[in-house]
């Protein structure tokens, strides 16, 4: 674990004992310290400079199939014990003794340049570079809006089964949005760069993302309306991985499965896709946006094969749901902060590279749609209905990518669309995303190479 726990083991033990004072099968205290800093550039001016810090803890007790949860700001031992008493107050059983705590060491993701130690002026320079690169991309670039954000989260987890562990997480991210204008036509392009990394993330050529965002916006100035109807769709690499995140990842989260609110319920061991498709959730990928040493219940993160040559081989579990299914947690118990209960969440989810050349995947399509990048997506795991907003899309005509399209959305149903994936590219890239579920947001990585779906509905305006 990290060198200095946020709460001493003796205090954690007292809080856990208090939490089980009226019985219960399991108690946990999750302590967190967070420091964040951000700024943006707009109209070539550095603004919205802000920093914040906070610490607090959440205490939960599980008894009689109910989770009782209380959280407090601050880490004052008296407040923590009050939270434990509050969480325990609805239970009416006999006192239970927690097991003695045993510290478990973890290895946090290495951070070379802690962003907190970098002067604000250096971060402002980075934003000015993004602004200049975006504006330099063409005369039709009207605006560049860029933001920088860093956050450090130190966590300590202790539970009644004797676990005492922690993690130290630093995430850094920049995002650029470019607006291009030609007469009345206005288009936008966006790009991000982020990781579970320090300021070393920006050692390469961070300005290139501004050029890429500008390139997308400028390309779209020549766009026509998107087609409407069912056709073959090729999805680009990188953030295209949000396809698998929505179509399959959410449906494999064990809370949806156990409530019968997932189209993947009862599908363990079954084939749902062609053998060319394998996919992972991997919370240990070095430096990736969705990586941590442990999840927010203290379980070490792991690489989980979820789809093995088209067959469902694992769901994604936190402790509570794993216990219910009599399996081990897969290290996917994540929470937005100490103010939230952990729930099964993805970390970095990706489709493993296949053996098709991206150009060949497109060349085989006579008439179709190329979704080079998405703005995001959404799924209802219970019905399997999903939707993706296309941020950069093109027509495919005669095996070639032709004119750009604006305003397209892809829509479909998980199991049908997954089964219709008939090519997986050998290229591969990871991108950063912010995933929302149950009112909690979490940093997640998504990845894939080019992927083709034999038929999918494109929702444009050109009928």
């Amino acid at each position: 674990m990290n060198d200095a726990p946020l709460i001493e083991p003796e205090i954690a033990a007292r809080v856990l004992a208090g939490a089980l004072d009226s019985g219960g099968e399991f108690a946990e205290v999750f302590a967190e310290r967070r420091a964040a800093m951000g700024m943006s550039i707009d109209e070539s001016r550095i603004e919205s400079v802000q920093s914040g810090a906070g610490e607090g803890a959440g205490v939960r007790v599980i008894g009689d199939r109910t989770t009782y949860f209380a959280h407090v700001d601050g880490l004052d031992p008296a407040d923590l014990e009050r939270a434990a008493a509050e969480a325990a107050s609805a239970l009416r059983g006999e006192r239970v003794e927690p097991r003695p705590l045993v510290a478990v060491a973890t290895t946090p993701q290495p951070i070379e340049i802690p962003p907190g130690a970098v002067p604000a002026e250096r971060k402002a320079e980075l934003l000015r570079e993004l602004d200049e690169r975006g504006r330099g991309a063409g005369d039709e670039v009207a605006q560049v809006l860029a933001s920088y954000a860093e956050a450090r989260r130190e966590v300590t987890v202790a539970n009644s089964e004797g676990l005492f562990t922690g993690d130290d997480r630093t995430r850094t991210r920049i995002a650029v949005q470019v607006v291009a204008r030609r007469g009345d036509a206005v288009e936008t392009g966006a790009e991000t760069l982020g990781g579970h990394r320090g300021f070393e993330l920006f050692e390469g050529d961070p300005g290139s993302i501004a050029a890429e965002a500008a390139g997308k916006a400028l390309t779209l100035l020549d766009a026509g309306p998107a087609p409407a109807g069912s056709m073959p769709v090729v999805v680009g690499g990188g953030f295209g991985g949000v396809l698998f995140h929505e179509m399959t990842g959410h449906g494999l989260e064990a809370d949806h499965i156990q409530k019968g609110a997932s189209v993947y319920a009862g599908k363990l061991g079954e084939r749902v896709a062609e053998p060319l498709l394998s996919a992972y959730d991997d919370g240990r990928m070095p430096g990736e946006w969705g990586s941590d040493a442990i999840d927010d219940e203290g379980t070490p993160t792991q690489k989980t094969l979820v789809l093995d040559q088209g067959r469902v081989v694992s769901y994604l579990y936190d402790r509570l749901r794993a216990e219910r299914d009599g399996v081990a947690s897969t290290g996917n118990g994540r929470r937005e902060s100490f103010r939230h209960l952990p729930i099964p969440r993805m970390t970095n989810t990706y489709i493993a590279p296949g053996d098709a050349e991206p150009e060949a995947i497109i060349a085989e399509v006579e008439k179709g749609f190329y979704a080079a990048s998405f703005g995001g997506g959404q799924v209802d795991p219970a019905t399997g209905d999903f939707v993706f907003g296309v941020s950069e899309g093109y027509l495919i005509e005669g095996g070639r990518v032709t004119r750009p399209c604006r305003g397209a959305t892809l829509i479909g149903n998980c199991l049908q669309a997954l089964a219709a994936i008939d090519a997986v590219g050998s290229d591969f890239a990871m991108k950063t995303g912010i995933c929302g579920k149950g009112g909690q947001s979490a940093p997640v990585g998504t990845g894939q190479g080019h992927v083709r779906i034999a038929a999918m509905t494109v929702g444009g305006t050109e009928v």
Binding site: M39, R45, I46, E47, S48, V49, Q50, S51, G52, A53, G54, E55, T66, T67, Y68, F69, A70, H71, V72, D73, E86, A120, E121, Q143, L145, V179, R181, V186, E187, T188, A226, A228, G229, S230, K259, G260, A261, L341, F374, G376, G377, Q378, D380, A382, T383, D385, V387, F388, G389, S391, G407, A408, T409, I411, G412, T457, G459, G460, T461, V463
Partner: protein, 448 residues
């Protein structure tokens, strides 16, 4: 708490700010989730924090924290001043001046938010689930039935003499209901909101979720075409929220709104009358003053087919040479105030739902949309979003439809708006919106 805010503003002046504004908030929250007739989780919590905006001349910075003792406040003050030093000068930056008029007196707190016991609110959530299960034999389960409530207190104090404090409470209940037919599972959402649990109708929440889920059984894709579309209030609210965002002056002044050049312009239809009303006594987002202490008001945005006004905070008002409309929003002490809508209120029209459908004749009634965060370009207003709902045939609701998109752009949609329905409700989507169903003359539907 006003003393705390005042002390913090003073601390920022002591740390080198030329002006300062402190926002302090305190909340006590409770949430119950039930499933299968049992309480799945019960959460009780208090939250308290402080956000401090510091100006050094024409530079502004922000810092927040939860350590509210004097040393903690000094740390926050130091960081806010440091943040201001890192910002560039902005000729329009500066602290808001106090409002000329006194803020409206509003009763925003319901006693039942505190007086109801944990067991009572758990029962309320259990009633939601039970009613959903009992409503129709095709209801297979309730993924989640939830009650959540919060009692809040907010105080703002500034070096320019702004000083205000208010209390409010809010709560909601919802159910995500599952229904099964031959082709698989359908979901339906039921919800209600109020200032306290006593104001909620849990049985209606359960029945609404069940009705929405069962109505979707057997749904198929519609044919792709352009046709009249009726948006039910939950869907209309999402679009009204997008329009509201485009009417915020920061987006307008920075050329990132489809409405930027349209003040005073005809919208092509007189059917939509839209106000932003922070002081509506029934509004979930009501407050006597906004996120920087300026008195709340009711602002006509679209009326008589014309775009009447944008929404302004102190900064955008100074930049636009006008007065603040009291539209600085905050999503808590951790966020900088920024222009946002409060309660968006759409005026009701003359037609009940049946006559609205008759008017549409042949088309689609949309009851749910998905993918709004990625399917809408807020700068251009162009959108294409996932939808489900019912066919309209011969002026009546017909078979259920799913897996299609509706596409248009906000300006064209407003121009094509033919009628607003007669019955409205508060909806927590798109911010806080009160709207009836809306009939759009034509939109592109993409399905099979």
């Amino acid at each position: 708490m006003i003393e705390l805010a005042d002390r913090a503003a003073q601390a920022a002046l002591g740390a080198g700010a030329s002006d300062a504004e402190a926002y302090a908030s305190e909340a006590s929250e409770r949430e119950v989730r039930v499933h299968g007739g049992e309480v799945e989780s019960l959460t009780a919590a208090t939250e308290r924090g402080l956000g401090l905006r510091a100006w050094i001349g024409k530079r502004v910075g922000y810092a927040y924290g939860t350590d509210l003792g004097d040393p903690g406040i000094r740390v926050i003050a130091g960081r806010a001043v440091e943040a201001a030093r890192a910002a560039d000068e902005d000729e329009f930056a500066g602290p808001p001046a106090p409002s000329a008029e006194a803020p409206a007196a509003l009763e925003l707190r319901d006693g039942s938010i505190d007086s109801w016991s944990a067991a009572q609110v758990a029962d309320l959530a259990l009633v939601v689930e039970r009613e959903a299960l009992a409503a129709d034999p095709r209801v297979a389960g309730v993924e989640q039935a939830v009650y959540a409530g919060s009692a809040d207190r907010v105080a703002i104090a500034s070096s320019t003499g702004i000083a205000g404090e208010y209390e409010s409470s809010s709560c909601y209940a919802y159910a995500q209901v599952l229904a099964t037919g031959e082709d698989g599972t359908e979901t339906g959402l039921g919800f209600d909101l109020g200032r306290g649990p006593a104001a909620l109708d849990p049985a209606a929440v359960g029945r609404e979720g069940a009705a929405r889920a069962t109505a979707m059984i057997g749904a198929a894709k519609p044919d792709s075409r352009g046709c009249p579309v009726v948006l039910d209030p939950t869907v209309a609210a999402s679009f009204i929220g997008l329009i509201g965002s485009g009417l915020c002056a920061d987006a307008v002044q920075r050329g990132r709104s489809p409405f930027a050049e349209r003040l005073g312009a005809e919208m092509g239809s007189e059917a939509l009358v839209l106000h932003d009303d922070r002081i509506d006594p029934s509004g979930p987002a009501s407050s006597p003053f906004d996120g920087e202490g300026i008195a709340g008001s009711r602002t006509a945005l679209i009326d008589g087919g014309t775009l009447r006004s944008f929404l302004f905070d102190a900064y955008t008002a100074r930049r636009g040479g006008t007065e603040s409309t009291g539209s600085a929003g905050r999503s808590g002490y951790r966020s900088l105030p920024r222009v946002s809508t409060s309660n968006l209120v759409v005026a009701t029209g003359a037609l009940g739902l049946d006559r609205l459908l008759a008017e549409a004749a042949e088309g689609v009634c949309v009851t749910d949309v998905a993918g709004l965060h990625s399917g809408v370009n807020p700068v251009t207003g162009v959108f294409s979003v996932g939808a489900s709902g019912r066919a309209i045939r011969g002026g009546e609701l017909a078979e259920p439809l799913r897996e299609f998109t509706i596409a248009s752009d906000l300006i064209s949609m407003l121009g094509a708006l033919r009628a607003a329905g007669a019955e409205s409700r508060w909806v927590p989507f798109g911010g806080s919106v009160n709207t009836p169903p809306l009939l759009i003359g034509e939109m592109t539907v993409a399905g099979a």
